[in-house]
Symmetry: C3
Subunit: 349 residues, 3 copies
């Protein structure tokens, strides 16, 4: 569904992150026909280039390369999103790094307007801010990367948890918000030191709304509210019509095309990381699972299985699914869910 581009290097050390499930679903007949269709989820997986130790006794360095360019994404049967991407997907590949590392991100701008990479990190030289202040002060001006340019950003990673990055540039007639909505964002997972080996699987989700450059090839609905770049065009009503017409196969054909689907196995410990990088308020509800907050209020149960996601904030939570099931997750601004901001979490034996 998405044009893959520029996944540079070999993902290593991250096998626990592989979200693509291959097991059969015992209790849910017909659904195992779709296991080959959800490779898109792989877009969540990090593109890791060359982790290396610079010198003995020095800080470990984790390096990534991200290439900014326009990527065409089929968002419905009738519409193409001329998205702007880091490495060809919306969101960008998730960056993994360990607490204590130096994170180094080389960003190459192959697009025709200036972009940047602004990470919500807490310890870095101002020249790596990737914001208009770099232009005004002249310190790190190149971190606002002109077309054809590149910048290598560096961060000391001293806090663990989850955070995110996004473009912080604007171009003529467009605001920073428009640059972000066009797809230039992603999640950073910072592993604790010492690590938390009990987490079997990470599921990063970015809630947002679709960018401005959507081309309709023919008449037809397009998604507006999206999670990880996907939303059901025409909303829940359209999904019902698909089901009425084509049955379960029709629904399965939407898996990770318009309907984000993530899988886990019974007994695993799964951590979700949900960020709102849209311009609207959202909230997040996962059906049927006890959710333990793993951000600010580490360990506490999330009240009523729903948490708020004000613009620009994120929340991580851990679940331990104990039975095979297909569970809905969706924005609990219910009108957004009605409009297609829904997904499935499938727990397999």
């Amino acid at each position: 569904m998405q044009k893959k581009f520029g996944l540079i290097g070999i993902p290593i050390l991250l096998t626990f992150l592989i979200v693509v499930a291959t097991g059969n679903i015992e209790l849910l007949p017909d659904l195992n026909t779709e296991t080959q269709t959800i490779s898109d989820v792989q877009s969540q997986i990090v593109s890791e280039v060359q982790p290396q130790i610079a010198k003995a006794e020095e800080q470990s360095v984790r390096e990534y390369t991200l290439i900014i360019e326009q990527t065409d994404i089929q968002i419905s049967d009738t519409a193409i999103w001329h998205a702007w991407t880091y490495n060809g997907t919306v969101p960008a590949p998730t960056l993994m790094v360990n607490q204590g590392d130096l994170l180094r991100v080389r960003v190459i701008n192959n697009h025709d307007v200036t972009h940047s990479f602004h990470a919500h990190m807490s310890d870095y030289d101002p020249k790596h801010d990737g914001s208009p202040v770099n232009v005004i002060t002249g310190i790190g001006a190149g971190s606002m990367i002109p077309p054809g340019g590149e910048w290598t950003y560096e961060y000391n990673v001293n806090t663990w948890g989850t955070t995110f990055f996004h473009d912080h540039a604007a171009s003529e007639g467009l605001g920073i918000k428009d640059h972000i909505l066009q797809g230039l964002y992603g999640t950073i997972l910072i592993e604790r030191n010492p690590p938390r080996p009990y987490i079997d699987r990470h599921i990063p989700i970015v809630m947002s709304e679709i960018g401005h450059d959507v081309e309709r090839m023919e008449k037809g609905p397009t998604p507006y509210y999206i999670m990880n770049g996907k939303g059901v065009p025409g909303g829940e009503k359209a999904l019902e019509e698909i089901f009425a017409e084509k049955g379960l196969d029709g629904i399965v054909a939407q898996f990770n095309y318009t309907l984000p689907v993530y899988k886990a196995k019974v007994g695993e410990t799964v951590e979700f990381h949900v960020t709102n990088l849209g311009e609207q308020i959202h909230s997040f509800h996962l059906h049927g699972n006890k959710m333990f907050s793993s951000t600010n209020d580490r360990g506490s149960v999330i009240t009523s299985q729903t948490f708020p996601l004000v613009q620009g904030t994120l929340e991580s939570f851990i679940i331990k699914p104990d039975k095979p099931a297909i569970w809905l997750f969706h924005c609990h601004v219910v009108g957004h869910a009605d409009a297609g901001m829904i997904g499935l979490f499938i727990v397999e034996e």
Copy 2:
């Protein structure tokens, strides 16, 4: 003010929940004339049918019966809300259950479109989800209850605290959000095991906006932002006009008709449970009382006596009023309060 319907069974064991105060208000002359008018608050009280122990050494079972049907609610002197209700009130009766119990809720659909009961619980068989996924998978399809049908939902209650339930169905031309806004929601209070005997009184409040099926009998303002189904038509300005014209008696006549009023006694420990099941963002401010959070951040003082209520979230807090007073509570999106989203909390000797 509300047409009472279908309160089945005898409320027992819940005397501490009785919100209807009968004492006089010593410091506040004239207000004791309204004690007989606030029986509406009783709509907050649970309708409990037959709590029973299934077998020796087994899990306690708490059972409720809820009947869905249209209920006409007078929301102003000139308008009727053809609401959709569980058991005749908006919100539904509050369900009480103990941590460790099995909660069993029999829901009968006496309305002419499909409805369901979706509880934000964390441990239940997927067949009791009450969502469109039940239809798609064919597992628990009947939990989306057609007109004339019924379903009995079951939940293992292993977390204590507060949560809520609502309809999760849509009908032709209406979204799930419209079904919820029409009144199909309520609060679930889960008592801790061991219990917290120090809580003298619970006050559940659901903030929302009014549903679509409001009939205006004559010209006149109607409420839009509501708490527990009530809002002051014409907003604060109308209330001022009532006061100017009719004095305190005019205000008292609005008690639990358009103006939600709850009471407690000096020295009691009172727990509020406030949920936002509307489509707008709200926040909640109670004047003049130190509020201790009893949800995520248990025990901490709520900063600035106000907390956020993003769509689909809730917060519980505890106060210990120490003097007779009439305190305002209201949405702190101040425009919502101006439009009538206000209530009174009366502390009596």
Copy 3:
């Protein structure tokens, strides 16, 4: 930029609060030319009249006098805001008080409509509520202060932390929200007992939107989203144009005129207190600093350097900047930042 009015009394004991920085900026050439232009920040400093001990062995009393009147504020080169103010500034001077004190605030209404002072405090006699309930009950009716009147409000200060105050009156055709948006709000900092001597500097910020009474002298953009009464007219694009035309000097000329600028020194412990008293949702992001929450979840790191600010709520956080830098802070509803809701935090050697 702002007409200063009525700063009564001598600020004492609060030298640590002086936000006006006088040091040079070593790393940032040209910026030290603006040190004399940011005296506006002084509007954040408390106006303290006569702290006194009433009697031996009794509660300490902290007293302030606030005068309500219209104040003309130049908000852009082409527009004047006929704001309503406590003591001539938006926000009002920050009130400082110690946990355990009695806070006494004398408010004089020199404006032509009724106003009040409603503080989000948790222990006070209902007669000091400053709300319409005072009128309805007749208890403390004068706390809704008519033109030419005054009221002295008193609060027992038994919780430490940060809170705020605002007008709670409405006038014909205007809601309470309009009264607040016109500028009648401010922050209260309650020092813990025992105090926290490790805080070197407080920076209170109120996010809001501008009030209704803005007069355009000529054609030109005006700010809408504001922090401490300031916003960049024309938004980020206008700032870029200023920079392109006039360079850094052009930007510096906006310091604390349209662009709020706060300073601290390397090694200091700085506490921000950010409140949303607008009608829109906001969130707050400070670039490049590890933020420790000092409100509800004391001590925890704020996830992703951004926190939500639903209408009517606040958050305090502590940072310890360790290098000279100019950092952006802004609303992370990115469209609000694009529209000018941005500021600078300058860390000097």
